[in-house]
């Protein structure tokens, strides 16, 4: 069943606070929506990642489904995994949208700064020169009305920046600072990001633009508080259960086995993952499968969150340092 655009916007009605949209781009985006069937243009760039966040977005259903998003809600000008065009035809679609302005820029994956950015090329320009992810961020960020960093790699470097960070990978915020660009990034971390965190934030943006909602409030790491406002442990159903798991696969609190729920901000215990239908909570989640939370929404994931397990002698020794290395 499809929901209407109005229902979709209402789904984010609870969102309050202040988000920094650029006033200059706001009018462009509103014009674009008025002229293009009400759907804002989106440019989705992929850096150093695994496409897992795009795949996760395909699982969207709680607020609405991916086909409804692509057909009715958004005007996705560039997304390398789904778009029909390839090669220069695809690049021109991205560049045309950039030059028109008033678009939402989505970045998935980290940005490698090592070797002058050459660990990740996004495409080749007309002169036959490779364009690095770093250059793409540099040229696409300034005209964006809003920038969404999707997944922990794009937000903070994530897996791609795991020690020893061979390619000097960074998140979008740090990349912009490195490039001397000023822009506010909405971070939607997770490895992968939950589809509802992405769609819910996009819905909030659409609501703001339609004059029907408030700006989402962000925490100190740029995450919308509606989704990342509480600790996993605070809402964990295992707390009411009142017992401690002694090994993986046992019912009970997993804190003693390495669970990062006390340091991790996300609404996984309430929302859960892989929902079956609109407005239904998910069918399972990491802790639900009797495995510890890995802390994947935090800025220091994975190095600060691993080793993921604390199984006593089972891991060989307990002398882990912060990076899980001897």
């Amino acid at each position: 069943m499809k929901i209407t655009r109005r229902d979709f916007l209402k789904a984010s009605a609870a969102i309050t606070g202040a988000l920094t949209l650029k006033a200059s781009g706001l009018m462009q985006l509103q014009q674009a929506m008025a002229g293009g069937g009400g759907a804002p243009p989106v440019i989705w760039l992929q850096g150093q990642g695994c496409t897992g966040c795009s795949v996760s977005l395909l699982n969207s259903v709680y607020y609405t489904t991916i086909d409804d998003l692509l057909i009715n809600k958004l005007d996705v000008k560039y997304h390398p995994t789904v778009m029909a065009a390839a090669g220069e035809m695809a690049v021109e679609a991205a560049e045309d949208a950039r030059d028109a302005g008033g678009y939402v820029l989505v970045i998935e994956g980290a940005v490698p700064l090592g070797e002058n950015g050459h660990y990740c090329h996004v495409w080749e320009d007309e002169g036959g020169n490779p364009v690095t992810m770093q250059q793409a961020v540099q040229t696409f960020a300034p005209n964006a009305i809003a920038i969404l960093a999707i997944g922990t790699c794009a937000c903070y470097g994530g897996m791609s920046a795991g020690e020893p960070n061979p390619t000097e990978a960074m998140g979008v915020d740090d990349t912009l600072a490195y490039l001397g660009l000023e822009a506010t990034v909405i971070n939607i971390p997770g490895c992968p990001a939950h589809p509802d965190w992405i769609v819910g934030t996009v819905a909030a943006l659409l609501a703001v633009l339609a004059g029907e909602g408030e700006m989402p409030e962000l925490d100190e790491y740029g995450r919308p508080k509606d989704f990342y406002g509480s600790c996993v442990h605070d809402k964990c159903p295992n707390r009411a259960f009142g017992r401690t798991a002694r090994t993986l696969g046992e019912a009970g609190c997993l804190a003693g086995l390495g669970c990062r729920g006390q340091q991790t901000h996300a609404d996984c215990p309430i929302r859960q993952w892989n929902s079956a239908a609109q407005s239904e909570m998910g069918v399972n989640w990491c802790v639900g499968s009797r495995n510890p939370c890995q802390g994947c929404t935090e800025p220091d994931f994975p190095d600060g969150m691993s080793p993921f397990y604390n199984l006593g002698g089972r891991t060989g020794d307990k002398q882990h340092n912060r990076n899980g290395k001897v």
């Binding site: 897992g52 390839a86 220069e88 079956a276 009797r290």
Partner: protein, 500 residues
């Protein structure tokens, strides 16, 4: 006069791929005669893994690929279990098979409808908005009511693949990236309500595969008969096998085996070597078995054009993927596989037609049916009163190997443990095989070989190249180089232009 077509980025794959193909007149037909395509992304996962807790490997390696994380989780668990000597309970083996099977279904449906089908469909007048425009429109694409029906199934398939992930999450914890995959089994437990929910979702997958996916592949095949002889490739096939039916490593739904120089043969992992002459890594690591492999990037190495290494079996180029798996099962006289292939190709078929663009799509669809049918039986084997996980010690020093299959082909993980930590971790992905660059013996990789000879009607709309590359379902950054001996350097460069 030769022309160069550049396709960068090559879209509708996972990862960063760029192709430059040279086309020229060959016996009156415009064909690909030479091309180079470069994988353009490097993260250094193997370097990142060094020094970490071995138990973390399944969770790190699942983040190598968001389309097939479960296969990496499986390879990593098998790898560690071989190093630890862990004996996984039957429930753990079956639960992992069910999650992996669900992700196979997700990936195959996603690949056909959302990654590959747009190469064959003229969507003009059916769906005329981004991201489906701009697009290529060529005279040989299916149009009209057939196009409308296929686009309708494209939308339906989005829900089917979502539900396949929902199904996988029941025992995986969540998708993509399943937390429940651990060496020793699966942390999720067997419960009757979970089995019932899984079974209900499985039935819907099965109906879609039987009544929509396979018929749609046959529809495309009927409209593009030439593609049973385009994209032939190297002709050698390799499969590690997957879906263990017991703990012996001998009995699998999809068999381990290979087809080399026209003969079926066994697989000896010791005969896998990785070559680096044309890869951006230090040559000192070239020609090594992955158990001894090293990953030392060298960005500006002379003549190197790929971030992929070039794995070879016994120094011979092999293709991996659904085609390899179905052919190996067929040649191993698996009765179910024989029945499935004969249902499409007729009795006593000439399986050489499978070495083609359409053959790969057909093999993928038939494999989806083979897997979805088998999964029903696995649910019956689960024991609600038995554990799915067993603890085991991490030894101070050990080595392991984990061979399995991702939806797009053979996947191997190798580990050395030293002082209870990961000392060496090497991964060979399916796309390493299929999109490999030339090796030290100057042999081209499977996609390279498949592209040479591909006819290109309109160099401004090289959909034929997309059809060949997409038939391999490339995943992760990949790179291709191919040369047709005797052809001169290109004289003119033509860039692809938007047609709409």
């Amino acid at each position: 006069m030769a022309s160069i077509i550049k396709i960068d980025p090559l879209t509708r794959i996972e990862g960063h791929l760029a192709i430059k193909a040279t086309v020229d007149d060959v016996d009156g037909e415009q064909q690909v005669v030479d091309a180079r395509s470069s994988g353009t992304m490097f993260r250094g996962f193997e370097m990142i893994l060094k020094g970490r807790d071995p138990l973390d490997a399944p969770h790190y390696t699942q983040r190598i690929c968001g389309v097939c994380p479960i296969s990496h989780g499986m390879a990593s668990c098998l790898n560690l279990e071989s190093a630890l000597g862990a004996d996984v309970p039957a429930n753990g083996r079956i639960l992992r098979n069910l999650v992996l099977g669900a992700n196979f279904l997700m990936s195959h449906v996603l690949h056909f409808y959302h990654l590959a089908a747009l190469d064959f469909i003229n969507t003009s007048g059916v769906i005329d908005i981004a991201p489906w425009v701009p697009r290529y429109v060529t005279g040989d694409m299916v149009a009209g009511s057939t196009a409308s029906a296929l686009v309708g199934h494209y939308v339906q398939a989005l829900a089917i693949r979502r539900k396949a992930h929902q199904m996988a999450a029941i025992f995986g914890g969540k998708l993509p990236c399943a937390p429940s995959f651990v060496p020793g089994g699966c942390t999720e437990v067997v419960a009757q309500d979970k089995i019932d929910n899984f079974r209900e979702l499985l039935a819907e997958q099965r109906t879609f595969i039987d009544e929509t996916y396979i018929p749609d592949v046959l529809t495309v095949a009927g409209a593009f008969p030439a593609y049973f002889s385009i994209g032939v490739g190297c002709g050698n096939l390799l499969a590690y096998g997957v879906f263990d039916m017991d703990n012996s490593d001998e009995n699998k739904l999809l068999y381990r085996g290979r087809y080399t120089d026209g003969d079926a043969a066994e697989v000896d992992p010791e005969k896998i070597m990785e070559y680096l002459k044309y890869s951006r890594y230090d040559d000192a690591g070239s020609g090594l078995n992955p158990a001894d492999g090293v990953t030392q990037p060298q960005l500006n190495k002379e003549n190197a054009y790929s971030w992929l290494k070039a794995p070879r079996y016994n120094n011979i180029v092999h293709e991996v993927g659904p085609l390899a798996r179905m052919a190996v099962n067929y040649l191993s006289n698996d009765p179910t596989t024989i029945g499935l292939i004969e249902s499409v190709l007729g009795a006593n078929p000439d399986i050489s037609v499978l070495f083609s663009v359409l053959g790969r799509h057909a093999a993928r669809a038939l494999e989806a049916k083979l897997v979805v049918d088998a999964m029903e039986g696995w649910l019956d084997e689960l024991d609600v009163n038995a554990p799915a996980y067993v603890e085991s010690d991490i030894p101070k020093t050990a080595s392991g190997i984990g061979l399995t299959e991702a939806p797009r082909g053979a996947l191997g993980h190798w580990i050395d443990i030293s002082n209870h930590r990961i000392d060496r971790y090497q991964v060979i992905t399916p796309t390493n095989w299929n999109a490999s660059p030339k090796d030290d013996l100057e042999q081209m990789g499977p996609i390279e070989q498949a592209l040479v000879g591909t006819p290109v009607t309109d160099i401004g709309q090289p959909v034929e190249i997309l059809r060949v590359v997409h038939s391999f379902d490339p995943c992760l950054a990949c790179s291709v180089h191919m040369v047709r001996p005797g052809k001169t350097e290109p004289e003119m460069v033509v860039y692809t232009r938007p047609s709409i």
